[in-house]
């Protein structure tokens, strides 16, 4: 990076989060490597998609980014400043990011109305309650909620409605960075599209940056500028969204692509899928060498000995796979999907 | 594990140490003086007064007295009552079993009564059975212990003379008579405690009964009673058990009254007597016994917690 260039909005360098697990009744104890040396950067107005296996550390990474968890090693910086810098500087930086939690039911205080929860970031900034209420009323329709829902209790809403309310809360104070952890998982597709569009729109007008975590490759690609793929606490692939959409390189990313169901009954009936074999390894005891090798259809002897490093496969497409430059998996023809 | 036990034991000791120090300190703050009690009201000269204080070692500064007491206490010597001249440990040896039995039986009985009552009340929340259960137990709970005790005395001696036993018969002498002599005192303290257990159980159960996993169990076709008494109760138990631990303190207070009414030679009565005569060594000793019991009960409850709630187990 040239020295005069402005620092990126978000920069994570070698972030590590290990949970200490105590041994108990037959289960071995030890270190659970939830996030194991992750580096990434995100510019203002940019969206970073994150995909990966369940339990690979996506939510933990999200918590590291927004400052809900301090990293065990490495740094998380916002606009070039460590968010864990002592004193008000750090505290200020931690306040600039928001998060949409994976479990919307748990992220709303069950004893407060939805409106109060949504208004919270504003109220916390000292906005008067009348103005905050008006803002809530403006915000709810944007996420497809009836403004009257503001007076509801969280349990009186469906899962998707709760999720939309938490999106509204994350966006209401116009933060610089929002981390969406499975933010659209329980929304119907039209709403999902609506929210994705809203996010894009806000990004264009306000320059907000997003980290977008999802199991849904299609949704990730619909919104992201760049995509990273995580496996067992590590980044195994990172690429511009377009490149990734065209040609994922890491065998795990390819498997993800192949397992994704298409909204076409005829096609789905006819096609067969490559299903990954083997159990997901424990993050407490990751395999030697390449962590994916136990399930990789193309694993070779070298994979057990040497951990592959992220290497550029051209055009900012980084892959951590020994086969990467040569192992170009033939790309499937894009399916014709009726609209 | 061993380290956990050790640290727990350490914390318990610290609490007991603080309790004893506090009793000692408070003892000197309390108006009224052991010397006056001993000397009586017929007047004594200043010199006589001082003499008595010297004899009792009360003239020394408080910290010195405490350290001396503590030194003896750790060696198991709780001293001698300046009033009765008896060894305190010997008195306690007679009193502890009586109160302990009352307390334990009361804890068991009130739980046996209050827990199911609370469950039934919660299950029938705001419906007739709930109202009936709550009304009955809460009425019993609202009447002061001494009134219940005396009513039981009156009714008992009249209609169930066999149940009414004036004499406290130790277990060793005649188990049957012993149980009879305990029946009324037990009934007296058990009722209000059972009512509290019922209330807490009800409220804890109500919380749990609206949890989603209850619906899951119903969807699986599990029988309602089993859902209520197993699935829900297991989840409601931790707060209930904590509360039962709280009760212990209340119960010890109740013991004082009940032992008084039913002439039971227990700790409560001894303590009341000791307080009113400012028999400091005895007050300190009985308080410590209560504190030990309390700390132990709560330690047991703390240890039960992870058993009852797997989420509380150390990760």
């Amino acid at each position: 990076m040239p020295p005069d260039a402005a620092p990126p909005l978000l920069e994570v360098q070698g972030a590590v989060k290990h949970f200490r697990i105590r041994a108990e009744g037959g289960r071995p104890g030890g270190l659970l490597r939830a996030v194991d040396g992750v580096s990434l950067r995100l510019d203002a107005g940019e969206t970073l998609g994150v995909v990966g296996e369940s339990g690979c550390g996506k939510s933990t990474l999200a918590r590291l980014i927004v400052g809900l968890l301090p990293p065990d090693a490495g740094t998380v910086s916002l606009r070039g400043g460590d968010i864990w810098a002592p004193g008000t500087a750090g505290r200020e930086r931690r306040r600039q990011s928001q998060m949409v939690f994976q479990n919307p039911a748990g992220s709303m205080n069950p004893r407060r109305t939805v409106g109060a929860s949504v208004a919270e970031p504003l109220v916390a900034r000292g906005v008067r309650s009348a103005r905050a209420d008006a803002e809530v009323e403006r915000m709810l329709p944007l996420v497809g909620l009836n403004p009257k829902m503001a007076s509801r209790m969280p349990h009186e809403m469906s899962g998707g409605q709760q999720q939309r309310a938490s999106i509204a809360r994350a966006l209401i104070a116009r933060p610089a960075l929002v981390v969406h952890d499975e933010a659209v998982a329980s929304l119907d597709i039209s709403l999902q599209a609506q929210i994705l569009n809203l996010l894009v729109e806000l990004q264009e007008t306000l320059g907000t940056s997003y980290v977008f975590i999802s199991h849904d490759l299609a949704a990730v690609q619909a919104i992201s500028h760049r995509v990273i793929v995580m496996y067992l606490g590590e980044i195994v692939e990172t690429a511009p969204a377009r490149t990734f959409a065209e040609q994922p390189l890491h065998p795990y990313a390819v498997a993800l692509r192949n397992s994704t169901l298409m909204p076409d009954p005829a096609l789905e009936r006819s096609r067969s899928r490559i299903v990954l074999r083997g159990d997901v390894p424990s993050p407490m005891n990751p395999p030697s060498g390449c962590r994916f090798r136990t399930r990789c259809p193309q694993a070779m002897a070298r994979c057990a000995e040497e951990a592959p490093r992220l290497a550029d496969a051209g055009g900012g497409h980084l892959v951590a796979c020994h086969l990467a430059p040569v192992a170009v998996v033939p790309r499937r023809e894009p399916e014709a999907v009726p609209c | 594990m061993l380290r956990l036990l050790l640290s727990r034991a350490g914390a318990m000791l610290a609490v007991l140490f603080a309790v004893s120090a506090l009793v000692f300190a408070l003892g000197s703050l309390i108006p009224g003086d052991l010397t006056s009690v001993i000397v009586g009201q017929e007047g004594a000269t200043k010199e006589q007064f001082e003499q008595v204080r010297r004899d009792l070692g009360l003239d020394r500064p408080l910290p010195v007295q405490y350290v001396r007491w503590l030194g003896n206490a750790v060696r198991g010597d709780l001293g001698t009552s300046p009033i009765t001249g008896r060894k305190i440990s010997a008195d306690l040896a007679h009193q502890i079993p009586v109160s302990l039995e009352l307390a334990v039986l009361c804890l068991l009985l009130s739980t046996a009564l209050g827990l199911p009552a609370g469950i039934v009340a919660a299950v029938h929340a705001n419906r007739r059975l709930d109202v009936v259960i709550r009304a009955q137990l809460l009425v019993a709970f609202s009447v002061p212990t001494f009134v219940i005790g005396i009513l039981l005395l009156l009714v008992g001696s009249r209609f169930a003379p066999d149940l009414f036993q004036v004499a406290f018969t130790p277990w060793s002498q005649d188990p049957a008579a012993h149980l009879r002599s305990m029946a009324m005192p037990l009934a007296t303290i058990t009722l209000p405690i059972a009512a509290m257990t019922m209330q807490m159980t009800r409220s804890a159960m109500l919380e749990v009964l609206s949890d989603p996993f209850i619906v899951t169990a119903r969807a699986m076709g599990v029988r309602l009673p089993r859902i209520q008494y197993l699935h829900a109760l297991r989840n409601a138990l931790p707060p209930i058990v904590t509360f039962i631990g709280f009760q212990f303190g209340v119960m010890l207070g109740g013991l004082i009254v009940v032992e008084q009414i039913f002439s039971l030679p227990g700790l409560g009565r001894a303590m009341l007597e000791a307080i009113s005569t400012r028999d400091y060594p005895m007050v300190t000793a009985t308080t410590l016994v209560f504190a030990v019991a309390f700390v132990l009960i709560n330690a047991v409850i703390d240890m039960l917690y992870p058993v009852l709630d797997p989420r509380q187990r150390p990760r």
Binding site: L68, S97, Q98, M99, G106, S107, M108, N109, P110, R111, S117, E120, P121, V123, A124, M153, P154, R169 | A14, V15, A18, V19, L22, L29, I30, A125, N126, R127, V131, R134, A135, L138, V139, F141, S142, V143, P144, F146, V147, I150, L151, M196, Q199, S203, L206, S210, I227, Q228, P239, T242, F246, G249, V250, L252, G253, M271, I275, T287, F290, N298
Partner: protein
């Protein structure tokens, strides 16, 4: 044009303005069957406590020795006591102390206990240890003993007795509050609030407190009752208000000597006590119900399992 779908017509229509029915804590409480009754009883006693002597037919503290231990009659509806004092007037007069003891001691204990518990639970670490241990020490004292000691130190009197009871009751509120606070602390909505930039004070006040309160309220209601009884014991030991001021506890403790001779001396104070205590507890349950977000007003039981 006719509506082809019958179901839609049968829909209960909301008021034209679309205004939801009046809601709010008090309205909900009044709609709660038990709550309305209990609130009524409590309010009645509070009014009696305030009006006190104005509504009492006689001076509660002076009696006519000529009519001592008189059975209930047209003149003395509740009979008279051994000093010829009118029991009705004394029961009314005693409601003041009952109310003061119940509310004040429990309010103080709750305030202190919840504050301690929530702070200990939320901050954890050494703050938790220190607060916890100190509460343990208080807790390890038998209730009555601690109250006796405190009153003995402070001197007898209503407010000292109330203070003593409050101190004695603080640890159990602290414990309960801490336990709830611990579960709230690990909840995701607290993370969300922290992310929203909500300050510590507001987190404690707006998130911790409402989730801690419901369990505390049931305990508070129970404690209001036990506080009465503790106070009765204290005044029985001569540590409460100075005689001849009537309070139900000491009225009862004296009346027990006349229980077969003048049962009305026991019956009326007990009735008043039971009624008020019952009301406190039912009210506590009702408040808990109403605070429960899943509480349904219209259809009664919120948890019809």
């Amino acid at each position: 044009m006719t509506n082809p779908d019958g179901a839609a017509v049968a829909l209960p229509q909301e008021p034209a303005a679309g205004e939801p029915p009046r809601s709010g804590f008090l309205a909900d409480l009044l709609r709660h069957k038990g709550g309305a009754f209990a609130l009524g009883v409590v309010v009645l006693f509070v009014l009696l406590a305030i009006a006190g002597r104005a509504v009492a037919p006689y001076d509660p503290n002076t009696g006519d020795l000529a009519s001592m231990l008189a059975a209930p009659s047209a003149q003395h509806w509740f009979g008279t006591d051994e000093l010829g004092r009118d029991t009705l007037s004394r029961v009314i007069d005693g409601s003041r102390i009952a109310i003061v003891v119940a509310f004040l001691s429990v309010a103080l204990a709750m305030l202190a206990g919840v504050a301690i518990g929530v702070v200990a639970g939320y901050f954890g670490g050494w703050i938790d240890s220190v607060l916890n241990r100190s509460q343990d020490v208080l807790f390890a004292f038998p209730t009555l003993l601690l109250a006796i000691i405190i009153v003995a130190v402070l001197g007898p009197g209503l407010f000292n007795a109330v203070l003593a009871i409050a101190i004695v009751y603080t640890p159990r509120f602290a414990r309960l509050a801490r336990a709830s606070a611990l579960t709230v602390k690990t909840s995701e909505y607290l993370d969300a609030a922290r992310l929203a930039g909500v300050g510590t004070g507001a987190i404690l006040l707006r998130h911790m407190l409402p989730n801690v309160l419901p369990s505390v309220i049931v305990l508070a209601a129970l404690s209001m009752s036990t506080a009465q009884l503790a106070y009765a014991s204290l005044s029985f030991l001569g540590l409460g208000v100075s005689p001849p001021q009537a309070d139900w506890g000491s009225m009862l403790s004296k009346a027990r000597d006349f229980i077969t001779v003048a049962p009305w001396l026991v019956i009326w104070p007990v009735t008043a006590l039971v009624l008020l205590m019952l009301a406190f507890n039912v009210l506590g349950d009702a408040i808990r119900d109403v605070l429960d977000p899943r509480h349904a007003t219209a259809t009664g039981p919120a948890n019809a399992v």
